[in-house]
């Protein structure tokens, strides 16, 4: 209970940190996907050299590809960070071996987005025992001793953000039809997102009228959306959990010629954000699941190794856990998020 509370606090603070960094900046980013987020503070003064190993699952999804790219770009910014990136794999046996190689190399820190948190726990423990600072990203280890710090997204919060936005838009329409296209249904993260969405809708007297699940891929998104449109002759609002599968969802909607509803995205791809900015599509908003978690992991690793703390915290050490906020991106604030969005 108390831990959860601290986490929330930390999350709010760290996001605040990101926000301050962005306010007042000129909105137009340079071409490409340079990661402009992140504060420039006294902590950025070069310190002792830090060697960081980075390992993540295979980049078979735009979000996952962005994780590694953002981490690499972040490391580039620091003259005192040397980043060793091994390529993503979905074979836990191989990922364990990659971490073992980092241990053999005696790196200072390892930033690890495990394919399977529990399966990578033993080798992370081994790394910690060897005196290496392990930063766990996105998928949690099975043991609290396996990582110095953990950076997590907020899946429940995503659902809450999406639901709250839908409530605001449909204010007063008590008979509104709300639809939801989820990701892989059996995953806990999908269940968390849906629960958050339902809870937030419940607060304003709405409910999810139609719900289907896809599999995070374009093709499955198209299939699920086509089914949903058949099942629901009228829709007022649609939340799609994932912008990668959203490409397929959008295609299905186009094919059906329907346009009576607005759509909220998920995860926050650059595509969808551009659509929101242009205002020419059904997407009115999307909820960010930050693809900069790996980049934050790099920063935390560097600070932890150098013995520094997070700049805006009174705390002397890097916190144990950072849970990231899931903000709603609309036309009003899209320029702040577009630079860190991932390309599907």
């Amino acid at each position: 209970m108390s831990r959860k509370a601290t986490t929330r606090l930390v999350a709010a603070l760290s996001v605040g940190l990101v926000l301050t960094a962005c306010t007042g900046n000129t909105p137009e980013p340079a071409a490409g996907t340079g990661n402009q987020g992140g504060a420039r503070v006294a902590n950025d003064e070069p310190g002792e050299k830090v060697v960081i190993g980075f390992s993540a699952p295979a980049a078979d999804h735009g979000w996952m590809a962005a994780i590694t790219n953002a981490a690499k770009a972040e490391a580039e910014k620091y003259s005192d960070v040397e980043l060793k990136v091994v390529e993503g794999t979905n074979d836990v046996n191989l990922q364990i071996s990659q971490v073992e190689t980092f241990i053999n190399d005696k790196v200072d820190a390892i930033v690890l987005l495990p394919f399977d948190g529990a399966a990578l726990t033993p080798v992370a423990l081994k790394a910690m025992k060897a005196g290496i600072t392990v930063i766990n990203v996105d998928r949690e280890f099975g043991s609290p001793f396996a990582a110095r710090s953990t950076v997590l997204g907020d899946n429940y919060g995503m659902g809450v953000s999406a639901g709250t936005y839908v409530c605001d838009q449909l204010k007063g329409k008590s008979d509104a039809v709300v639809a939801e296209i989820a990701g892989i249904d059996s995953l806990p993260l999908t269940q968390d997102r849906s629960k958050g969405f339902a809870d937030a809708l419940g607060d304003c007297g709405l409910k999810v009228n139609n719900r289907v699940a896809a599999e995070f891929t374009v093709e499955s998104g198209e299939r699920a959306a086509a089914n949903l449109l058949q099942a629901a002759p009228r829709i007022d609002a649609l939340w799609n959990h994932d912008d990668d599968q959203g490409v397929g969802v959008t295609a299905a909607i186009k094919n059906s010629g329907r346009s009576e509803f607005f759509m909220v995205g998920g995860a926050g791809s650059a595509n969808v954000m551009r659509e929101i900015k242009a205002g020419n599509g059904l997407h009115k908003a999307t909820v960010v699941y930050p693809s900069t978690q790996g980049a934050d992991g790099i920063r935390l690793a560097r600070l932890a190794v150098q013995g520094k703390s997070l700049g805006d915290l009174v705390e002397v050490e890097v916190p144990r856990q950072v849970e990231l906020f899931a903000p709603v991106v609309t036309k009003d604030n899209v320029d702040r998020y577009l630079p860190t969005a991932f390309e599907s």
Partner: protein, 339 residues
């Protein structure tokens, strides 16, 4: 091997095939080629990564990585030598790992002995192997199709049993045993070595092995020579299933988890290792030593790439190239011996 390691032999009249072609033509020469390939890879490793590669810890890292897929590959060598193929090994590893780590199994293991986990995995592996074998031998379903069905079914069953959740092992005796080392060599590597040695002896020194060659070389001739080809086929797939069970135990020990995602694409890794080792995909010729070298070549390659921060995609390209070169070489040798 011994034929090639002897000192320079004086040329004799009975030896018209001297030089490289004769060397490559012999079974021993085939392995020499693999040894050369592995040594070259190691040289590349030392040049690019220096002491980081040549370090004892790094060698153990390579061997640990090789151990799990190595055990599967040894079993796969038997099935391919016997004229079959098994696409379901990865799925069987997943199912065995899940079944061996359910709460019920773990409770039994904690009450009785941690070996319960091992036996559960082996039994599930063997069971899947028996089903594969019976479908192929008695149901007369093509091996490719039968094991493709098993691939889908076993992984699906693993997902149902585990509810797609990763199951963490909390049996202290089990993890302690497999975490240990024997004279500095990790237990997982010792198991791989044992499986390889036993596999070699069985394939080359027993009636079972000889029958495997016969069944793979010409099933009809083997049948008419009095070998029970169907029963033997079932035994081959069962043996591979047991190897998958062993691999599952090793993977459970290495990750302290059972999961329906374990063993992804192991079938391709295993088949690739077996083929570059020199075992004929059409059956009738197989070598355990070659398979072990094949596994070591692929894992060393993977390690050299990791040490140099090179991409897995480039590694996949290199892997593909190695397979093609190995098969081309194999065809040339086959043509020469057939002429």
């Amino acid at each position: 091997m011994s034929e090639n390691t002897t000192a320079v032999r004086p040329p004799t009249a009975e030896q018209p095939q001297r030089g490289v072609s004769a060397l490559l033509g012999s079974a021993a020469g085939r392995n020499t080629g693999l040894v050369v390939a592995l040594v070259l890879l190691c040289v590349v490793g030392v040049i690019t990564a220096g002491d980081r590669f040549a370090d004892v810890d790094n060698v153990l890292t390579i061997l640990r990585l090789a151990a799990v897929i190595g055990v599967v590959s040894v079993g796969m060598t038997f099935v391919i030598t016997g004229g079959g193929i098994d696409l379901s090994v990865g799925a069987i590893v997943a199912l065995s790992s899940v079944w061996a780590t359910t709460l019920a199994t773990q409770a039994m293991a904690n009450d009785a002995h941690w070996l319960v986990i091992v036996f559960a995995a082996l039994a599930v592996g063997a069971g899947c192997g028996v089903i594969n074998g019976v479908l192929i031998a008695y149901g007369r379903i093509v091996a490719f199709i039968a094991t493709l069905a098993m691939l889908a079914a076993a992984r699906g069953l693993a997902e149902i049993i585990s509810n797609r959740k990763t199951q963490i092992v909390n049996v202290p005796g089990f993890t302690a045993f497999f975490d240990a080392s024997v004279l500095g060599v990790p237990v997982l590597v010792v198991i791989f070595a044992l499986v390889a040695v036993v596999g070699w002896v069985v394939l080359n020194r027993t009636t079972f092995g000889r029958r495997t060659f016969a069944v793979g070389g010409n099933p009809e001739a083997a049948r008419l020579a009095g070998i029970d080809v169907r029963r033997h086929t079932v035994l081959l797939y069962t043996l591979l299933g047991v190897c998958c069970g062993i691999a599952a135990v090793m993977l459970v020990a290495r990750t302290t988890t059972g999961s329906s995602t374990h063993g992804g694409l192991y079938e391709l890794d295993a088949i690739a290792a077996v083929v570059i080792g020199g075992t004929l995909l059409s059956g009738g010729r197989g070598t355990i030593a070659g398979t072990v070298f094949g596994v070591l070549i692929f894992t060393t390659l993977s390690n050299v790439f990791t040490l140099n921060n090179l991409s897995i995609s480039a590694q996949a390209v290199a892997k593909g190239a190695i397979i093609v070169v190995a098969v081309l070489l194999q065809q040339r040798l086959a043509r020469r011996s057939g002429a």
